[in-house]
């Protein structure tokens, strides 16, 4: 299981849980698992999220590996100028 930290307004949708546990070894499994276990998060997951894994930010790459003890933080999907 990987501990995933949610940002505040997302946590509110996950019954106030700031951290949720998901069975995942990579980014795709993580996103799929979140949508499956926490359907209330689905609208935001569909709009897009960024995921910080051990301090590096990932947007898309499904195969990005996630270790059991990785620090995983969900973020609004980042955009730049």
């Amino acid at each position: 299981m990987v501990a995933v930290r949610l940002w505040g307004s997302l946590a509110e949708l996950a019954d106030g849980q700031q951290t949720v546990e998901i069975e995942a070894a990579n980014l795709r499994q993580l996103l799929d698992g979140l949508a499956r276990d926490y359907p209330a998060l689905k609208p935001q997951l569909e709009r897009g999220v960024s995921v910080s894994i051990d301090g590096k930010i990932y947007n898309d790459t499904w195969a990005t590996p996630i270790e059991k003890n990785s620090e995983v933080v969900l973020l609004n999907r980042l955009v730049g100028g």
């Binding site: 930290r5 940002w7 505040g8 307004s9 997302l10 946590a11 509110e12 949708l13 700031q18 209330a40 609208p43 935001q44 709009r47 910080s52 051990d54 301090g55 590096k56 930010i57 990932y58 947007n59 898309d60 790459t61 990005t64 620090e71 933080v73 969900l74 973020l75 609004n76 980042l78 955009v79 730049g80 100028g81």
Partner: protein, 747 residues
């Protein structure tokens, strides 16, 4: 160690300051920008825009315009028969050509293509539009009230609390700990409200394109944009075309700063061309640029920070309300993430609201959301320092985030450079220089993420051994020079042997737009890897020639060398020698690399500024300005400095002069450079750039993006300098003379 991890090394070319390769074209007027091309049989396009802030379009009568001599096509929304199913794309379409309603002053309602500019404009006058004027709202706080006129119902996300207007489309919250508990440990808590005005990116080149679209669905588009792949994908999605049938070529680009990461006129030009059966050139006027493109969000913000006597921040909260313009999708969540990012805080909470108003759809502007996030936070920290008699740099250092800090937006930082910028500021002579009467010195920190994204690069070794590099990101600030430098460095060849071009959408795979300070990082990464790929091929070719194992070949100084005990004694083969026999050893030599470059490194800056306030007029003069920023690795220091200076200058404009002014009627009152005043040469001092290099662990050369962070601290740095000079805290941007005078009088 994976190959894209940073490895310390000595550079031969990277870090030097060679002349830029596109320089001569640009100083002689030869460089071709968006409006500089023509096509045989070309028509001129023009767009009719709403004079109302909010109005239902009852009817549009184009018959008189169509009957005019020389008019070849008139279009309205009715001509866009393809309905994109993606709500984001539908918004882009509606913004390019209004459907049921005109949502802001300047919203496009019809367009014309004619044989001359003059006929096109005369034809616009002949189009009759009947409007039913609706109540409007342009102020963010007003637009949030439950009884405000609603721009579009049904767009609210599930995260918005009840009781707010439907104009509030989203809310995001970040933070950790318990700020209330933190405030109770503080010796002083300051809570203040701030506002910032909407500002425009202000690129000097208006949007322009030349479009050709046939009835067979094949098209060509020449356009000034930060991302021609984005333009292709968006236009294809809006018009129901196959992306592969539309070839988009990026012109030279006359500035963008985020404002050219969107589509504004291109689908209109394509539609006009399809209807007229001829190429159509469409160029915006400055008035149109101000009224209908850009700007950034205006904002209204509350910040509360508690501090101990020793300078420790015990608790911090911020609420950001950002005005998104006529469609959902501002960047309040970025404000909520960035505001406290420079600090190591136990108790922090931020909240961001995005709010629709009757203004042009807000566009990205250099580090979107971050300048207005840093401004109130850094202002309140400065005021706490003043009241607790603390040194503002020392206090920031005491609270500064570092490697291992849990950031205010969640993740734990890897190696970062904030402390280095603060220490450099402390030891710089600027910090201790004397100040005169009515003068004040301000400092502020800023943070930005930087980005990676889809990137595709090809590197061809030509038969004579020279190198052609194709990349897919428009060059705004000298990136072709940087790419040539990285390719030459990796290949070990002289810089003048490499030429970089920006390829069109048919020549390379998908490339993310030039945004988020991504180019030097992501395209640089792909360039280095494409060069390494070519080197592998050249090593194989040399090995084949020598009849040895490719593993027994080394590459350095632009040549293959036999290496290892069993390689044999062969003289090195240079890139030229290998290229000359390429046909005999397997054919052309080309390296390429395709990647979604993730893992860009964050960046920090500290700015220091001296200002003088004229007590008679309220005018603010910037006397001295120094930028301290972490660049990771400065590939071409001249252009890194240029990014620092340019961002600071835009921030100075935002702080002191620039402002979208709306009248009671909801119309923009200052859509021109005379009344929307960007800084001119005589407004500014020299801007001293101090480059720090704390390598990004995720890039082979340690590169971080540099383009955006420089606009984050100036708003606060100047507000702090002005507040100290004036002896009163200013909480509203811009700090234009009347505002400063009012603050001085209210003292």
């Amino acid at each position: 160690m994976p190959k894209d991890e940073f490895q310390a090394r000595d550079f031969k070319i990277v870090g030097t300051r060679p002349l830029r390769p596109d320089g001569i074209d640009k100083v002689t007027g030869k460089a071709r920008y968006g409006a500089d091309v023509t096509a045989p049989g070309m028509l001129w396009g023009a767009v009719l825009r709403s004079p109302h802030a909010h109005a239902r379009i009852v009817s549009i009568d184009t018959s008189a315009a169509e009957a005019m001599k020389g008019v070849k096509a008139v279009i309205t929304r009715a001509d866009f028969t393809y309905q994109p199913d993606d709500p984001g794309l539908a918004d882009v379409l509606d913004n390019c050509m209004a459907g049921e309603k005109a949502r802001y002053d300047g919203h496009a309602v019809a367009a014309v293509a004619a044989t001359s500019k003059k006929i096109a404009h005369d034809a616009l006058d002949a189009i009759k539009v009947e409007y039913e004027v609706l109540a409007h709202v342009t102020d963010v706080d007003e637009a949030m009230k439950p009884d405000a006129p609603v721009i579009e119902a049904g767009r609210q996300q599930e995260n918005v609390p009840a009781g707010l207007s439907e104009n509030v489309t989203s809310r995001s919250k970040y933070g950790h700990g318990d700020p209330e508990a933190g405030f109770s440990q503080a010796d002083l808590v300051i809570e203040r409200s701030f506002t910032t005005a909407a500002t425009h990116q202000g690129y000097i080149e208006p949007h322009a394109c030349l479009a050709t679209l046939g009835a067979d669905g094949q098209g060509d588009l020449w356009v000034c944009t930060q991302g021609h792949y984005m333009v292709r994908n968006t236009c294809a999605g809006l018009l129901g075309l196959d992306a592969g049938m539309l070839r988009v070529t990026a012109s030279e680009i006359g500035g963008g700063f985020g404002g050219k990461t969107h589509v504004w006129i291109e689908p209109v030009a394509l539609m006009l061309s399809r209807k007229a059966g001829k190429p159509v050139k469409l160029v915006m006027s400055r008035d149109e640029v101000f009224r209908a493109t850009g700007p950034t969000a205006s904002s209204s913000i509350d910040v509360k920070i508690g501090m101990k006597k020793d300078g420790t921040i015990t608790g911090a909260t911020a609420t950001y309300r950002l005005q998104a313009g006529a469609y959902p999708g501002a960047i309040a969540f970025l404000s909520a993430m960035c505001g406290f990012a420079p600090y190591d805080l136990e108790n922090v909470r931020t909240e961001g609201f995005e709010v629709m108003t009757n203004r042009p759809k807000a566009a990205a502007y250099r580090a979107p959301g971050a300048p207005m996030a840093a401004y109130p936070v850094e202002s309140v920290i400065d005021e706490l320092c003043q009241k607790l008699d603390l040194d503002p740099l020392e206090t920031r250092l005491k609270n500064a985030a570092d490697e291992g800090t849990k950031s205010a937006y969640g993740p734990t930082y890897p190696a970062i450079g904030l402390k280095a910028t603060l220490k450099a500021a402390q030891s710089h002579p600027h910090w201790t220089a004397p100040l005169g009467e009515n003068q004040g010195r301000g400092v502020a920190c800023g943070f930005w993420f930087n980005f990676g994204g889809d990137t595709c690069v090809s590197l061809m070794v030509n038969p004579d051994g020279t190198v052609s590099l194709s990349e897919g990101n428009p060059d705004i600030g000298g990136s072709r020079a940087s790419m040539s430098m990285m390719a030459a460095e990796e290949l070990g060849v002289p810089l003048d042997q490499v030429r970089t071009i920006i390829a069109d959408t048919a020549s390379l795979g998908q490339n993310e737009v030039t945004d988020g300070s991504r180019v030097t990082f992501a395209v640089g990464l792909a360039t280095i890897k494409a060069a390494r790929h070519a080197i592998e091929i050249m090593k194989e070719r040399a090995a084949m020639t020598w009849g040895i194992d490719p593993e027994a070949v080394d590459w350095h100084d632009g040549a293959a060398h036999p290496a290892g005990p069993n390689a044999g004694k062969f003289p090195p083969m240079t890139i030229k020698e290998i290229a000359a026999i390429a046909s005999n050893t397997g054919g052309p030599i080309a390296g390429h690399h395709e990647v979604n470059a993730e893992g860009a490194g964050v960046s920090f800056a500290t700015h220091m500024v001296d200002t003088e306030v004229d007590p008679e007029t309220g005018a603010v003069k910037v006397l001295r300005y120094t930028v301290f920023q972490d660049a990771g690795k400065a590939v071409h220091p001249d252009y890194v400095e240029g990014q620092f200076q340019g961002g600071a200058a835009q921030g100075i404009g935002w702080a002191i002069n620039e402002e979208y002014i709306y009248g009671e009627d909801g119309r923009l009152q200052n859509p021109g450079f005379l009344d929307y005043r960007v800084p001119v040469a005589s407004d500014l001092p020299m801007i001293e750039p101090v480059i720090l290099e704390i390598p990004n662990p995720g890039h082979p050369y340690g590169v971080r993006g540099v383009g955006e962070t420089s606009i984050v601290p100036p708003l606060a740095a100047i507000a702090n300098a002005v507040s100290r000079a004036a002896g009163v805290r200013l909480t509203s941007l811009p700090m234009s003379p009347p505002r400063v005078l009012a603050a001085l009088k209210g003292q």
